[in-house]
């Protein structure tokens, strides 16, 4: 595309040459190789807030107050200063007025979000770019011994009140809210909700319902449907009327409101559980043509595990497009915990319009992994409106990310290959006994079956993906820069920091360092041993980044640095 690396000649070249079809965004992004955040202001004096995130269009910077009651929104600006004197251009030092937090951010407003007994969930934020609406969540404290109420499953914690707030970020005006009582929604890192265009899906773990809400342009949150015990809007009416006729629901009290949830006294399962079980049944049924074989197959694969299938609970949900949901099922003790990597997980693709399950993938299914490997972008489910969200590097749209994935996969299989050949050597030794043979066959079984499965499971444990969890900053574009993924990446989580600066090396000119992010002066002496965590926030479009150094994950940051292009 560009022949030289000089930014002025690149601009001239841009005037006379059009990029190859379909590559206009990539071609524009190459200018980020020239404009890098190479200058750092260390230890900036900033207000004591919990800084959270830039919105994906870079218009707002969202923070919460330390006591998690208020919302504070800043507008990112660029610093401007004037200096007096003869030799201003060659000044190495910035004037002190320029080194303040307020030079880069203008406070727009402070609004109270949570009432007295509630706290803001400081890991939850969704941004609707088309209307500049922000979605926040507050919740009360967890109720210690939650009674099992009608329809609620046991084993899941309960919160007295969880509220989802819809705010207009331009002026901080609260537009609407949706309240969940005595419920549990997993709000950390946007896990329990997913925003696609104007549709918001919220998973109520306790009542096992997926609430689909629509955000109207007027700012109202409208209930579209609730998938769980009922699939269609009129299912409840139909089931109630037919059961009254059949008379087998006499033991249930008709409250006259809603939530006439099925319990174990009912003669049948309804809603999404019924759809799921019938899909599994039909899939197993259609595998065999012989009648007796079929029945044997069913007994082994379906009826033997029937109660396990019935006990599956909805854990997480994401949109694949406007009509399709990817639902993760698992066991109830996983519900509130975070470490779900090694536990069995089942995935189903559900069509909301036809209320049919389209596909069901059992634990660590290779088929789902292949789809994830080839079409990772489509799992991110970005709406058509936000163009740049489609250019976040993933292993489906970037050859370097794909190479990394392949090398990880090869490592997982090659370790098993090496050990298989090693164990074969051992078994061929003249003095092997039956016990050694048994040990080796178990070992080989483990290597052939379990180890590659563990890799697939690890990759699939990130599904369904968290909404808006990756930063769209072009500095994370793998085709522009190479950087150490363990130290910094597009998903903004606190990581253990190192004393060495994080290097961003250009891809196109190998081994040429473009810029470094250094999180602090070289630590030595007294600080040497203590572990520190660092956390980065990159502006989506500008060469501006913030880094936070925390002594531990639960304490506020001890230092804030600003990295920008001077």
């Amino acid at each position: 595309m560009f022949k030289t690396n000089n930014v002025a000649s690149r601009i001239f070249e841009r005037q006379i040459r059009t990029p190859a079809p379909g590559t206009s965004v990539h071609s524009a992004r190459r200018f980020y190789e020239n404009l890098v955040p190479s200058f750092t202001i260390y230890d900036v004096e900033c207000p004591d807030h919990s800084f959270f995130k830039f919105t994906d269009d870079g218009q707002y910077f969202v923070c919460f107050s330390r006591n998690r009651q208020d919302l504070i929104v800043y507008r990112p600006t660029w610093l401007s200063f004037s200096c007096k004197g003869e030799d201003c251009d060659n000044n190495q030092e910035l004037p002190p007025q320029a080194k303040r937090f307020e030079s880069f951010f203008t406070q727009l407003y402070v609004k109270p979000l949570a009432s007295c007994n509630e706290l803001i969930c400081k890991d939850f934020f969704l941004y609707m770019e088309s209307n500049q609406y922000g979605i926040f969540a507050t919740s009360t404290a967890q109720i210690q011994d939650a009674r099992g109420t009608d329809g609620a499953i046991l084993g899941v914690p309960s919160f007295e009140k969880i509220t989802i707030h819809l705010f207009r970020l331009e002026d901080g005006f609260k537009l609407d809210e949706k309240v969940f009582h005595n419920d549990c929604v997993n709000l950390t890192h946007n896990m329990g909700a997913f925003l696609y265009d104007d549709l918001l899906a919220v998973v109520s773990l306790r009542y096992q319902t997926i609430h689909i809400l629509q955000i109207r342009d007027s700012g109202n949150l409208v209930d579209v449907r609730a998938i769980g015990a009922y699939c269609r809007e009129d299912d409840e009416l139909f089931l109630n009327s037919s059961s009254q006729l059949a008379g087998n629901r006499g033991d249930l009290v008709d409250n006259g409101t809603n939530h006439d949830q099925p319990n174990s006294n009912n003669s049948f399962l309804s809603g999404i559980k019924q759809r799921l079980l019938s899909f599994i049944f039909r899939e197993i049924w259609s595998e065999e043509t012989d009648q007796t074989q079929r029945v044997q197959c069913l007994k082994k694969k379906f009826y033997f595990h029937f109660q396990d299938y019935v006990d599956l609970v909805i854990l997480k949900v994401q949109f694949l497009d406007r009509h399709h949901l990817l639902i993760k099922f698992g066991s109830v003790d996983v519900g509130a915990s975070r470490n779900t990597d090694q536990l069995p997980a089942f995935f189903a693709v559900y069509n909301m319009e036809t209320t049919e399950i389209v596909a069901f993938y059992q634990n660590a299914a290779d088929e789902l992994y292949l789809l994830f490997e080839r079409f990772c972008d489509h799992f991110h489910a970005t709406s058509i409106n936000s163009m740049y969200m489609n250019f976040i590097s993933s292993h489906s749209n970037n050859i370097y990310a794909l190479e990394q994935l392949k090398s990880m996969k090869n490592k997982a299989t090659s370790v098993s290959q090496v050990l298989i050949s090693l164990s074969e050597v051992v078994t061929s030794l003249p003095f092997y006994s039956f016990l050694v043979y048994l040990w080796n066959s178990l070992w080989i079984f483990f290597l052939i079956r379990i180890l590659p499965g563990m890799f697939v499971k690890k990759m699939l444990s990130s599904l369904p993906l968290n909404c808006q969890s990756m930063s769209p900053s072009p500095y994370f574009d793998q085709s522009l820069f190479r950087f150490d993924e363990k130290l910094i990446s597009a998903t903004d989580r606190p990581r253990q920091s190192t004393d060495h600066p994080i290097r961003f090396i250009s891809r196109r000119q190998p081994n040429i360092l473009k810029f470094k992010i250094k999180t602090g002066p070289e630590f030595g002496g007294a600080d040497g041993r203590s572990k520190k965590y660092s956390h980065f926030l990159f502006h989506p479009a500008w060469p501006l980044a913030l880094s936070f150094i925390q002594p531990s994950l639960f304490l506020p940051p001890s230092a804030v640095n600003i990295h920008f292009r001077r």
């Binding site: 039909r282 595998e287 065999e288 007796t292 044997q296 497009d321 693709v349 079409f375 489509h378």
Partner: protein, 94 residues
């Protein structure tokens, strides 16, 4: 050279010296060749509308695989619905 472009500087003035720009008094004898189809087998139907597929490639793939599984066991699925039409699962007969 009497060129339409005037006396602009050029690398070699003898380039394009053979070229005579077309003028109305001396029409060129070259006629651009035209190609006409000899049959109408490949004409699109008159009411054809080309539109973008609404489902994205991932969803299309998922549906395709589901259909493939069903198609390969088509004989089995014909016996799926029992004769009475009720949807109760049959107890095992063995």
């Amino acid at each position: 050279m009497g060129s339409m472009l005037g006396n602009l500087p050029s690398f070699d003035p003898h380039n394009f010296s053979q070229l005579r720009p077309s003028d109305p008094s001396n029409p060129s004898k070259m006629v651009p060749s035209t190609y006409r189809p000899t049959h109408s087998r490949t004409l699109p139907p008159p009411d054809q509308v080309i539109a973008t597929e609404a489902k994205n490639i991932l969803i299309r793939n998922i549906y395709q695989r589901a259909e493939e599984k069903l198609r390969s066991k088509r004989a089995a699925t014909e016996h799926l619905i029992p004769e009475h039409g009720c949807k109760q699962t049959r107890p095992s007969t063995s």
